[in-house]
Symmetry: C2
Subunit: 216 residues, 2 copies
DNA sequence: GAATTTCGTAACTGGTCAGTTACTTCTCCG
DNA sequence: CGGAGAAGTAACTGACCAGTTACGAAATTC
């Protein structure tokens, strides 16, 4: 037995500070999203990350620092995905439809993002307000919407005098709210709103609302 | 001095279990809304209520029991306010406009309700699901919307084939989301969305979206 | 007005948890 | 190699907190 190196799984055991860092952030995202800031347990995050408490405090200072980093990272990810959107070649109506679908499905496949935002709003966005990165994350979706609106108005397929920020908020609301409140809504309506079928119904309706509104 | 009765403020000091109960619930609403379930402190609730811990455990069993009661009470209040709505004499368009305004302003003036619902959704509505009262609280707003839709369709001022549940969800979303995410949105947009001016802009836009969609 | 029940107070208990520390083990680099 | 420093471990600390208890004070009832 010259070099057993490690008893653990056969992952290579070289130094990878950035991998460890990422593992911690991944674990923290899950834990924070499931239990909120005060409900989350640092020990649990350490265990789940495969790393340990000491590293968490080494990299992130304290629980709050970890929270802020997780939050910023979640926004960054969303921004990255949004950047990949290209509706320049689509017709305004087509583009708007695509945009709403993207937003809706993003919410559907990122429930942790929803939970994180809700928790941050509970704290009156006090962490986000102190973030240095926050100014960069003005969402690109807004730019795309503005462009679509202008083209649609020029072509006469959209009504005039639509404020892009308001429309953006409306689109965000139509996606976000459904998933944010999906458990209480499911309980009250006695339906499982998480089912793909119900999700499709909801998305179709949302698109119909916005496109119906945008008619000249 | 025949009967000084109490050294405290001149509130009467007779036995009033229901008043004490209500005071506790009021205090709990504030604390829970501000800090969530796990963040809230029972000691703080006891202090704020003017009563004490012992009474809390006497009336509500434990922290979770208190949470559920607070939640049910919040829903009941909403239902009561909704019951007072009477749009029977309004035109469909007028009625719909009034309904959206009511919903929006209810969210505006009940931020604790918003916070409570978000916290409950974080817990996957596990408390609400176990509530015996839950079946009663199918919101009356839904009935009113159904009626308005039918009348509007008969009169030819609303489009056909609108699902009342979907429209209800949309209206709820347009009010709820804005206030639920008001802190992160304010931070990202760099505006104070809590200001009455911004609120009016938002409400007007929301109404325009729904009425615009409903056009035949 | 005594007995009984309700209400209030404050100290206590047992457990939890964020953050620290002392110490060991591994990895990297010259 | 071998030394320096990074990564890992686990025990520890001190604060906090949900829930309990023991006891006293007040109020209702008969």
């Amino acid at each position: 037995m010259p070099k057993p190196k490690t008893d653990k799984s056969d992952t290579k055991r070289t130094r990878q500070p950035d991998v460890t860092r990422r593992n911690i952030l991944d674990a923290a995202l899950v834990e924070f999203a499931a239990k909120g800031l005060s409900g989350a347990r640092v020990d649990e995050i350490a265990a789940r990350s495969g790393s340990n408490k000491r590293m968490i405090y080494e990299y992130f200072g304290n629980k709050d620092g970890l929270w802020l980093t997780v939050l910023e990272r979640a926004y960054e990810r969303m921004r990255e995905e949004e950047h990949a959107i290209d509706v320049a070649r689509m017709s305004p109506v087509e583009g708007m439809r695509y945009l709403m679908e993207f937003n809706f499905k993003f919410c559907s496949r990122n429930p942790e993002f929803i939970a994180l935002l809700n928790a941050e709003n509970l704290h009156k966005a006090s962490f986000l307000k102190n973030s240095k990165k926050i100014r960069e994350l003005y969402t690109p979706l807004l730019v795309v919407i503005t462009d679509l609106l202008q083209r649609g108005q020029r072509e006469g397929v959209f009504r005039k005098n639509v404020d892009p920020v308001e429309l953006y908020t409306t689109i965000a609301a139509l996606g976000f709210f459904y998933f944010s409140n999906i458990h209480t809504l499911s309980t009250i309506f006695g339906r499982n709103l998480l089912s793909p079928k119900q999700q499709k119904v909801r998305l179709d309706h949302s698109i119909a609302v916005v496109l119906g509104y945008l008619r000249p």
